[in-house]
Every structure is written in structure tokens, then in C-alpha cells.
Symmetry: C2
Subunit: 327 residues, 2 copies
């Protein structure tokens, strides 16, 4: 498996990743809801990565990257840039191996996210909130510490790790016809494509994306990575641009994209809360939102849904619900 | 099994109840949290009845009662009084059997609860919000319809049904030393006592109760049912007075009561939200609240916790969190 070589993210890589990380992750439950099934007109199986360690699926890829380092590299630690779930996940993963994690965080990141990273033992360095400043700071941290950079999603080790969520979903819900998965950078979605192609080739993967951050939709339509200028969506985890490896996998596997409006994302987040008693962050509700808005012809009868995370505080959720999207 | 004869709620009754209701209920998951384990200083296994049909464990007893009626009685339907979860549960259970459910609801019950009962097909009759008015209205409904009255908890069929939650918990977490369970009317708690005594006699059952509604605490101390004058607690599901059958089981099985302050109930509700991404109603958080406040000598190392329900709306939760109990 070499970073950047798409065709080499194989089922064997995914199996190896699963063996490597299994003892350190949760086997998250697959839950169902009659009320939501009736609303959507399909039988849905929700794989709840909101219950995963760190509150999202990100720990799977982070652990696979950290645990597959050789001893000499690992000693010097790992580094990444993140204002969200991946920073916390890499800190947890580094803690499992007992090595340092250096996380470059923009100065405008929410205090609560920074506190979470530090709570898991991550060493935070701040940078100005723009890409050149972030890259300069990351380069400085890596030069100083010798830590290995781990990209949050544009990395074959991350893709193999995130694919394990789909492996578990396919084991627990063996009769699926489709899997709907959120797409931002594309780590979870490309992992789903790799796992489904290998284990259940008749299961179609649909990547769900906010209309206000539709670079995956445009990229898969044009056949090349389209830039994302000013993402405008409450689904903060999906504002990131699509990665190169991730794009290559999604396009080679024939993954299609379904879009979700902001109103539908609010409504779906609220459905999780009210009907399923689940705290789901807006990004994690995007597949359900897209399902609600999709034409009937787009939906199979038996659908797996990857619920990517639950890191949202009550105040944010209350503001979101007040903003609209009554169920 | 005769109503009122405590010693006759046997393991066989519980097994029969489980066989009767199994196809109609969810097998709710048992979840864990490292963060909460560290906080409490014990390993906790949370049986999440918040995910049960209707949003609480109440459907178990309701289904057992409805499905054990003979055909002739069942045809005329069932009736109860409820301003909360049991009314909805009985409406669902009656729907499963295809018979009517008549629910007497006080005029001051939340609109959302009444709407839920009607959403499940229950036929609502309103009464003034006091015990004489409620009993008169219920008697009138029963006289008119011939429906069978099903008490929300003071009924051996209900106890046997609620006991099935503990049977499942003991199956999924076989190494428990204690089970902590909320106590209001006592249906869930007395069911837990029956199941634990029969299946795992070394597992102690601790009933957790709000300090502001401590009639079970006082009743088990004095050896007779003590009245509850003015219950004052946010745990609205636990304001009901302890039932006779329930009291007799709890006292004969040596169940002890642990109290929880209002601040601890808020804090526990918040811990479920923030650390476990679970929507839990305040009543369902009372065992965790009592665990947090209990002296170390009171807690075993390995504890099962029955999370009774998740029927709370976001506005109520936001008001609750704003009222205090920061984690």
C-alpha cells in the first residue's frame, strides 16, 4: 500500500487495519427507527459512529496510521492540522501508542474543540486561520519534532481505517442494497467504497453532501477535483475540500453524490434527536437529509446509513432547531 | 399469577412475558463510557431503554398485559390513566393486538404527551388534574366501554413485563455485581428485583430516587407505604407514589434506596448528552445521579444501570442545562 496509489487500498489493507485497531475502538451499534423508515419509505440501518471513541469515526483511521508506524518513526510522534474531530482522534490514537501528538489548530477554532484535543493529551500549537499559515506552522512543528505528518483524510492508511466502519455495518446488516455516507474530505466515503466493492459488490455507495459545500458533486461530474471556494453549511465537518486519493477512489468505484439542503440537514438532526434519542452532529445527519430529499427512484428498499459523529453541544443544537426545520 | 400476590411473580412469569412480547419490542443495546466510568470509579453498563419503542421501557409491561388478555376481554380494549410514557405504551400495545386503548389524561398534561398517545392510536379522555376526578373519569370510561383497566405499575403482569429489561441486561453484561434502577411507582425496580433474584442472586438491586420524591426511601425504612405529599423533582416520571405490589417486592427482596439531588440529576442528564451522545430524560438519569453522589462503599466495581427513557424535548433539556449542573 503506498500513499497516493489508489488501486492499492485493498481489502487486505482494510482487514489489516481492522486487526490493528479492533482492541482500541468500540463496536458501535446499528440502530433502526420505524418512524423514520415510514417517513423515508425505506428500511434504514443506522451505524452509529457518534458512539465511537472521541465521538466520531475518525479514531479508526487515526489509530490505523499511528499503529502502523515503525517503532523508530512512532517514537517521534505524529502531527496534523485540525480544528475538529480528527485532531482529537489523533491525540487519542497517539495516547494508545504512548507517543506525542502535535495538533496545529487555527486561532478561531471553538474553545471546546481545542480543550477536547488537550484533554486527550494532544499538544496544541495555534496558527492564523488560513491555509498558508497552517502549512507553515505544520512544517515548523514537523521540522522541530521529527513527528510524522498524518493527513486527516488524503492518506491510504486513513482510508483503510475508515473502511472498517463499513465492514462492521455490512456484517451487522447483511441485506443492504445501498450505503449512504457523508462526504467532506472523503475519508469515510472512499473507505465505504473500498469495503463495499470488495465485500458486497452489489451494494451501491451514495455520498451525501450539503448543497452549500458541493465540491464532491461537481468533481465527480467533471472528472477532476473542483475547488471549494466558500463552503456555506451548518455541517462544519463537511466544509473540507475533497482529497486526491479520496476523489480517485470515489470516481473509480462509480460512487454518486446526493445533495442535501440546509433545511433538510436541520430536520434530519432533529429527527435523530426526537425519534431516535440520538445526539448527532449536523454533518452526521447529512445522509438522512439527502435521503429525505432524494426522489424515490434514487432510494433502495434497504439502506445502510453511516452516522459519522455526535460532537455538537446543546446550545448549538438549540440554536439550530430554532433556526427552522420543524419535523 | 394473581394480581396482588407478590410471591407469585415468578421467573416463569417473566419468561412467559418475554416470549409474549419479544417480537414486538427492541433488544435495546448496552452501552458504556470510559469518561463516566472514570468519574464514578466503577465500570458501568447502561441498558438503554431510551431506544425502546415509545421511548421508554413501559411498552414491555403494557404489551405483556395486553397480549395476556383472553380474546373476549381483549376485544373490548384496555384503559388506563397516564400523563406520560405509560399512556403511549398502552396505546402502542393495544395497536399491536388491534384493540382500542382508552387513556385518561389530566387537562394539565403536556400537549406533546397527549399528541404522542393519539399518534399511537390511543383514545384520549381528559379529566381534571386530581386523583378523585381521574378515578371517576376512568370508572366512567370502563363502565361505558367494558375495557379492562391496566394500572401503570401496580399490577403483576406489568412487573413481569418490566422485568424482561433486567433479563436482557443480565444476558448482555453477565459479570454485574449491582443493578441501579430508577424507582417511581416501582414497576421497573420491582421487575429488576424479581429477575435478579432468580437469575443472578448475588447481584444487588439498588433503587435510585430523587430526594424531592423520596417515598420509596421512607417506605422501605418504615416497612409500610408512606404517602408522597408534594413531590418536587425535575424527574417527572418518578413523582408517582410507590405501588403496593411494587413495595411488597422491593421490601421482600431487600432492595435498598439511594437518593439523588436535583443538581446531580441535571448533571447526569448532561453527562449522557455530552459524553455518551444519548438523549435521556431526567427520570432516566436518576440512577447515574445517585451513583455520582453515593459514598464509595455503596458502589460495586461492576454496575448495570437501567436507563429508563428518553422522552424529553430539546427546549426542556436546554432549560434544564441552563438551570445548573455544569459538568
Amino acid at each position: 500500500m503506498s500513499v497516493g496509489s489508489v488501486s492499492e487500498v485493498t481489502l487486505a489493507d482494510v482487514r489489516d487495519a481492522h486487526d490493528r485497531i479492533r482492541a482500541h475502538i468500540r463496536r458501535t451499534p446499528v440502530l433502526t427507527s420505524r418512524a423514520i423508515d415510514e417517513l423515508v419509505g425505506a428500511r434504514l440501518a443506522f451505524k452509529c459512529e457518534s458512539f465511537q471513541r472521541g465521538g466520531s469515526f475518525k479514531i479508526r483511521g487515526a489509530l490505523n496510521a499511528v499503529l502502523s508506524l515503525d517503532e523508530r518513526s512512532a517514537m517521534r510522534g505524529v502531527a496534523t492540522h485540525s480544528s475538529g474531530n480528527f485532531g482529537a482522534a489523533l491525540a487519542i490514537a497517539a495516547g494508545v501508542r504512548g507517543v506525542p501528538a502535535y495538533i496545529v489548530v487555527p486561532t478561531n477554532a471553538p474553545r471546546v474543540k481545542r480543550a477536547a484535543i488537550e484533554g486527550y493529551g494532544g499538544i496544541v500549537t495555534e496558527c492564523a486561520p488560513n491555509v498558508p499559515a497552517r502549512e507553515a506552522m505544520l512544517a515548523a512543528v514537523v521540522a522541530k519534532t521529527g513527528a510524522q505528518f498524518v493527513h486527516p483524510y488524503d492518506d491510504a492508511r486513513i482510508v483503510a481505517g475508515q473502511a472498517t466502519a463499513t465492514v462492521e455495518l455490512l456484517e451487522d446488516a447483511p441485506d443492504l442494497e445501498q450505503i449512504w455516507v457523508p462526504v467532506g474530505g472523503g475519508g469515510l466515503a472512499s473507505g465505504a467504497a473500498v469495503a463495499a466493492r470488495a465485500l458486497a459488490p452489489r451494494v451501491a455507495v451514495v455520498a451525501a453532501e450539503p448543497s452549500g459545500a458541493d465540491d464532491a458533486f461537481r468533481s465527480l461530474a467533471s472528472g477532476r477535483i473542483e475547488p471549494m471556494a466558500n463552503p456555506a453549511t451548518i455541517a462544519d465537518g463537511l466544509r473540507t475540500p475533497l482529497g486526491r486519493i479520496n476523489f480517485a477512489i470515489l470516481s473509480s468505484q462509480g460512487v454518486t453524490v446526493a445533495l442535501a439542503s440546509e433545511a433538510a440537514i436541520v430536520r434530519a438532526t432533529r429527527l435523530f434527536f426526537e425519534r431516535m434519542k440520538l445526539v448527532v452532529e449536523p454533518s452526521g445527519a447529512v445522509p438522512l437529509a439527502a435521503l429525505i430529499e432524494a426522489p424515490k427512484s434514487r432510494r433502495a428498499r434497504r439502506i445502510g446509513v453511516l452516522v459519522s459523529g455526535g460532537n455538537v453541544d446543546l446550545d448549538a443544537l438549540a440554536a439550530l432547531f430554532a433556526s427552522g426545520g420543524a419535523t
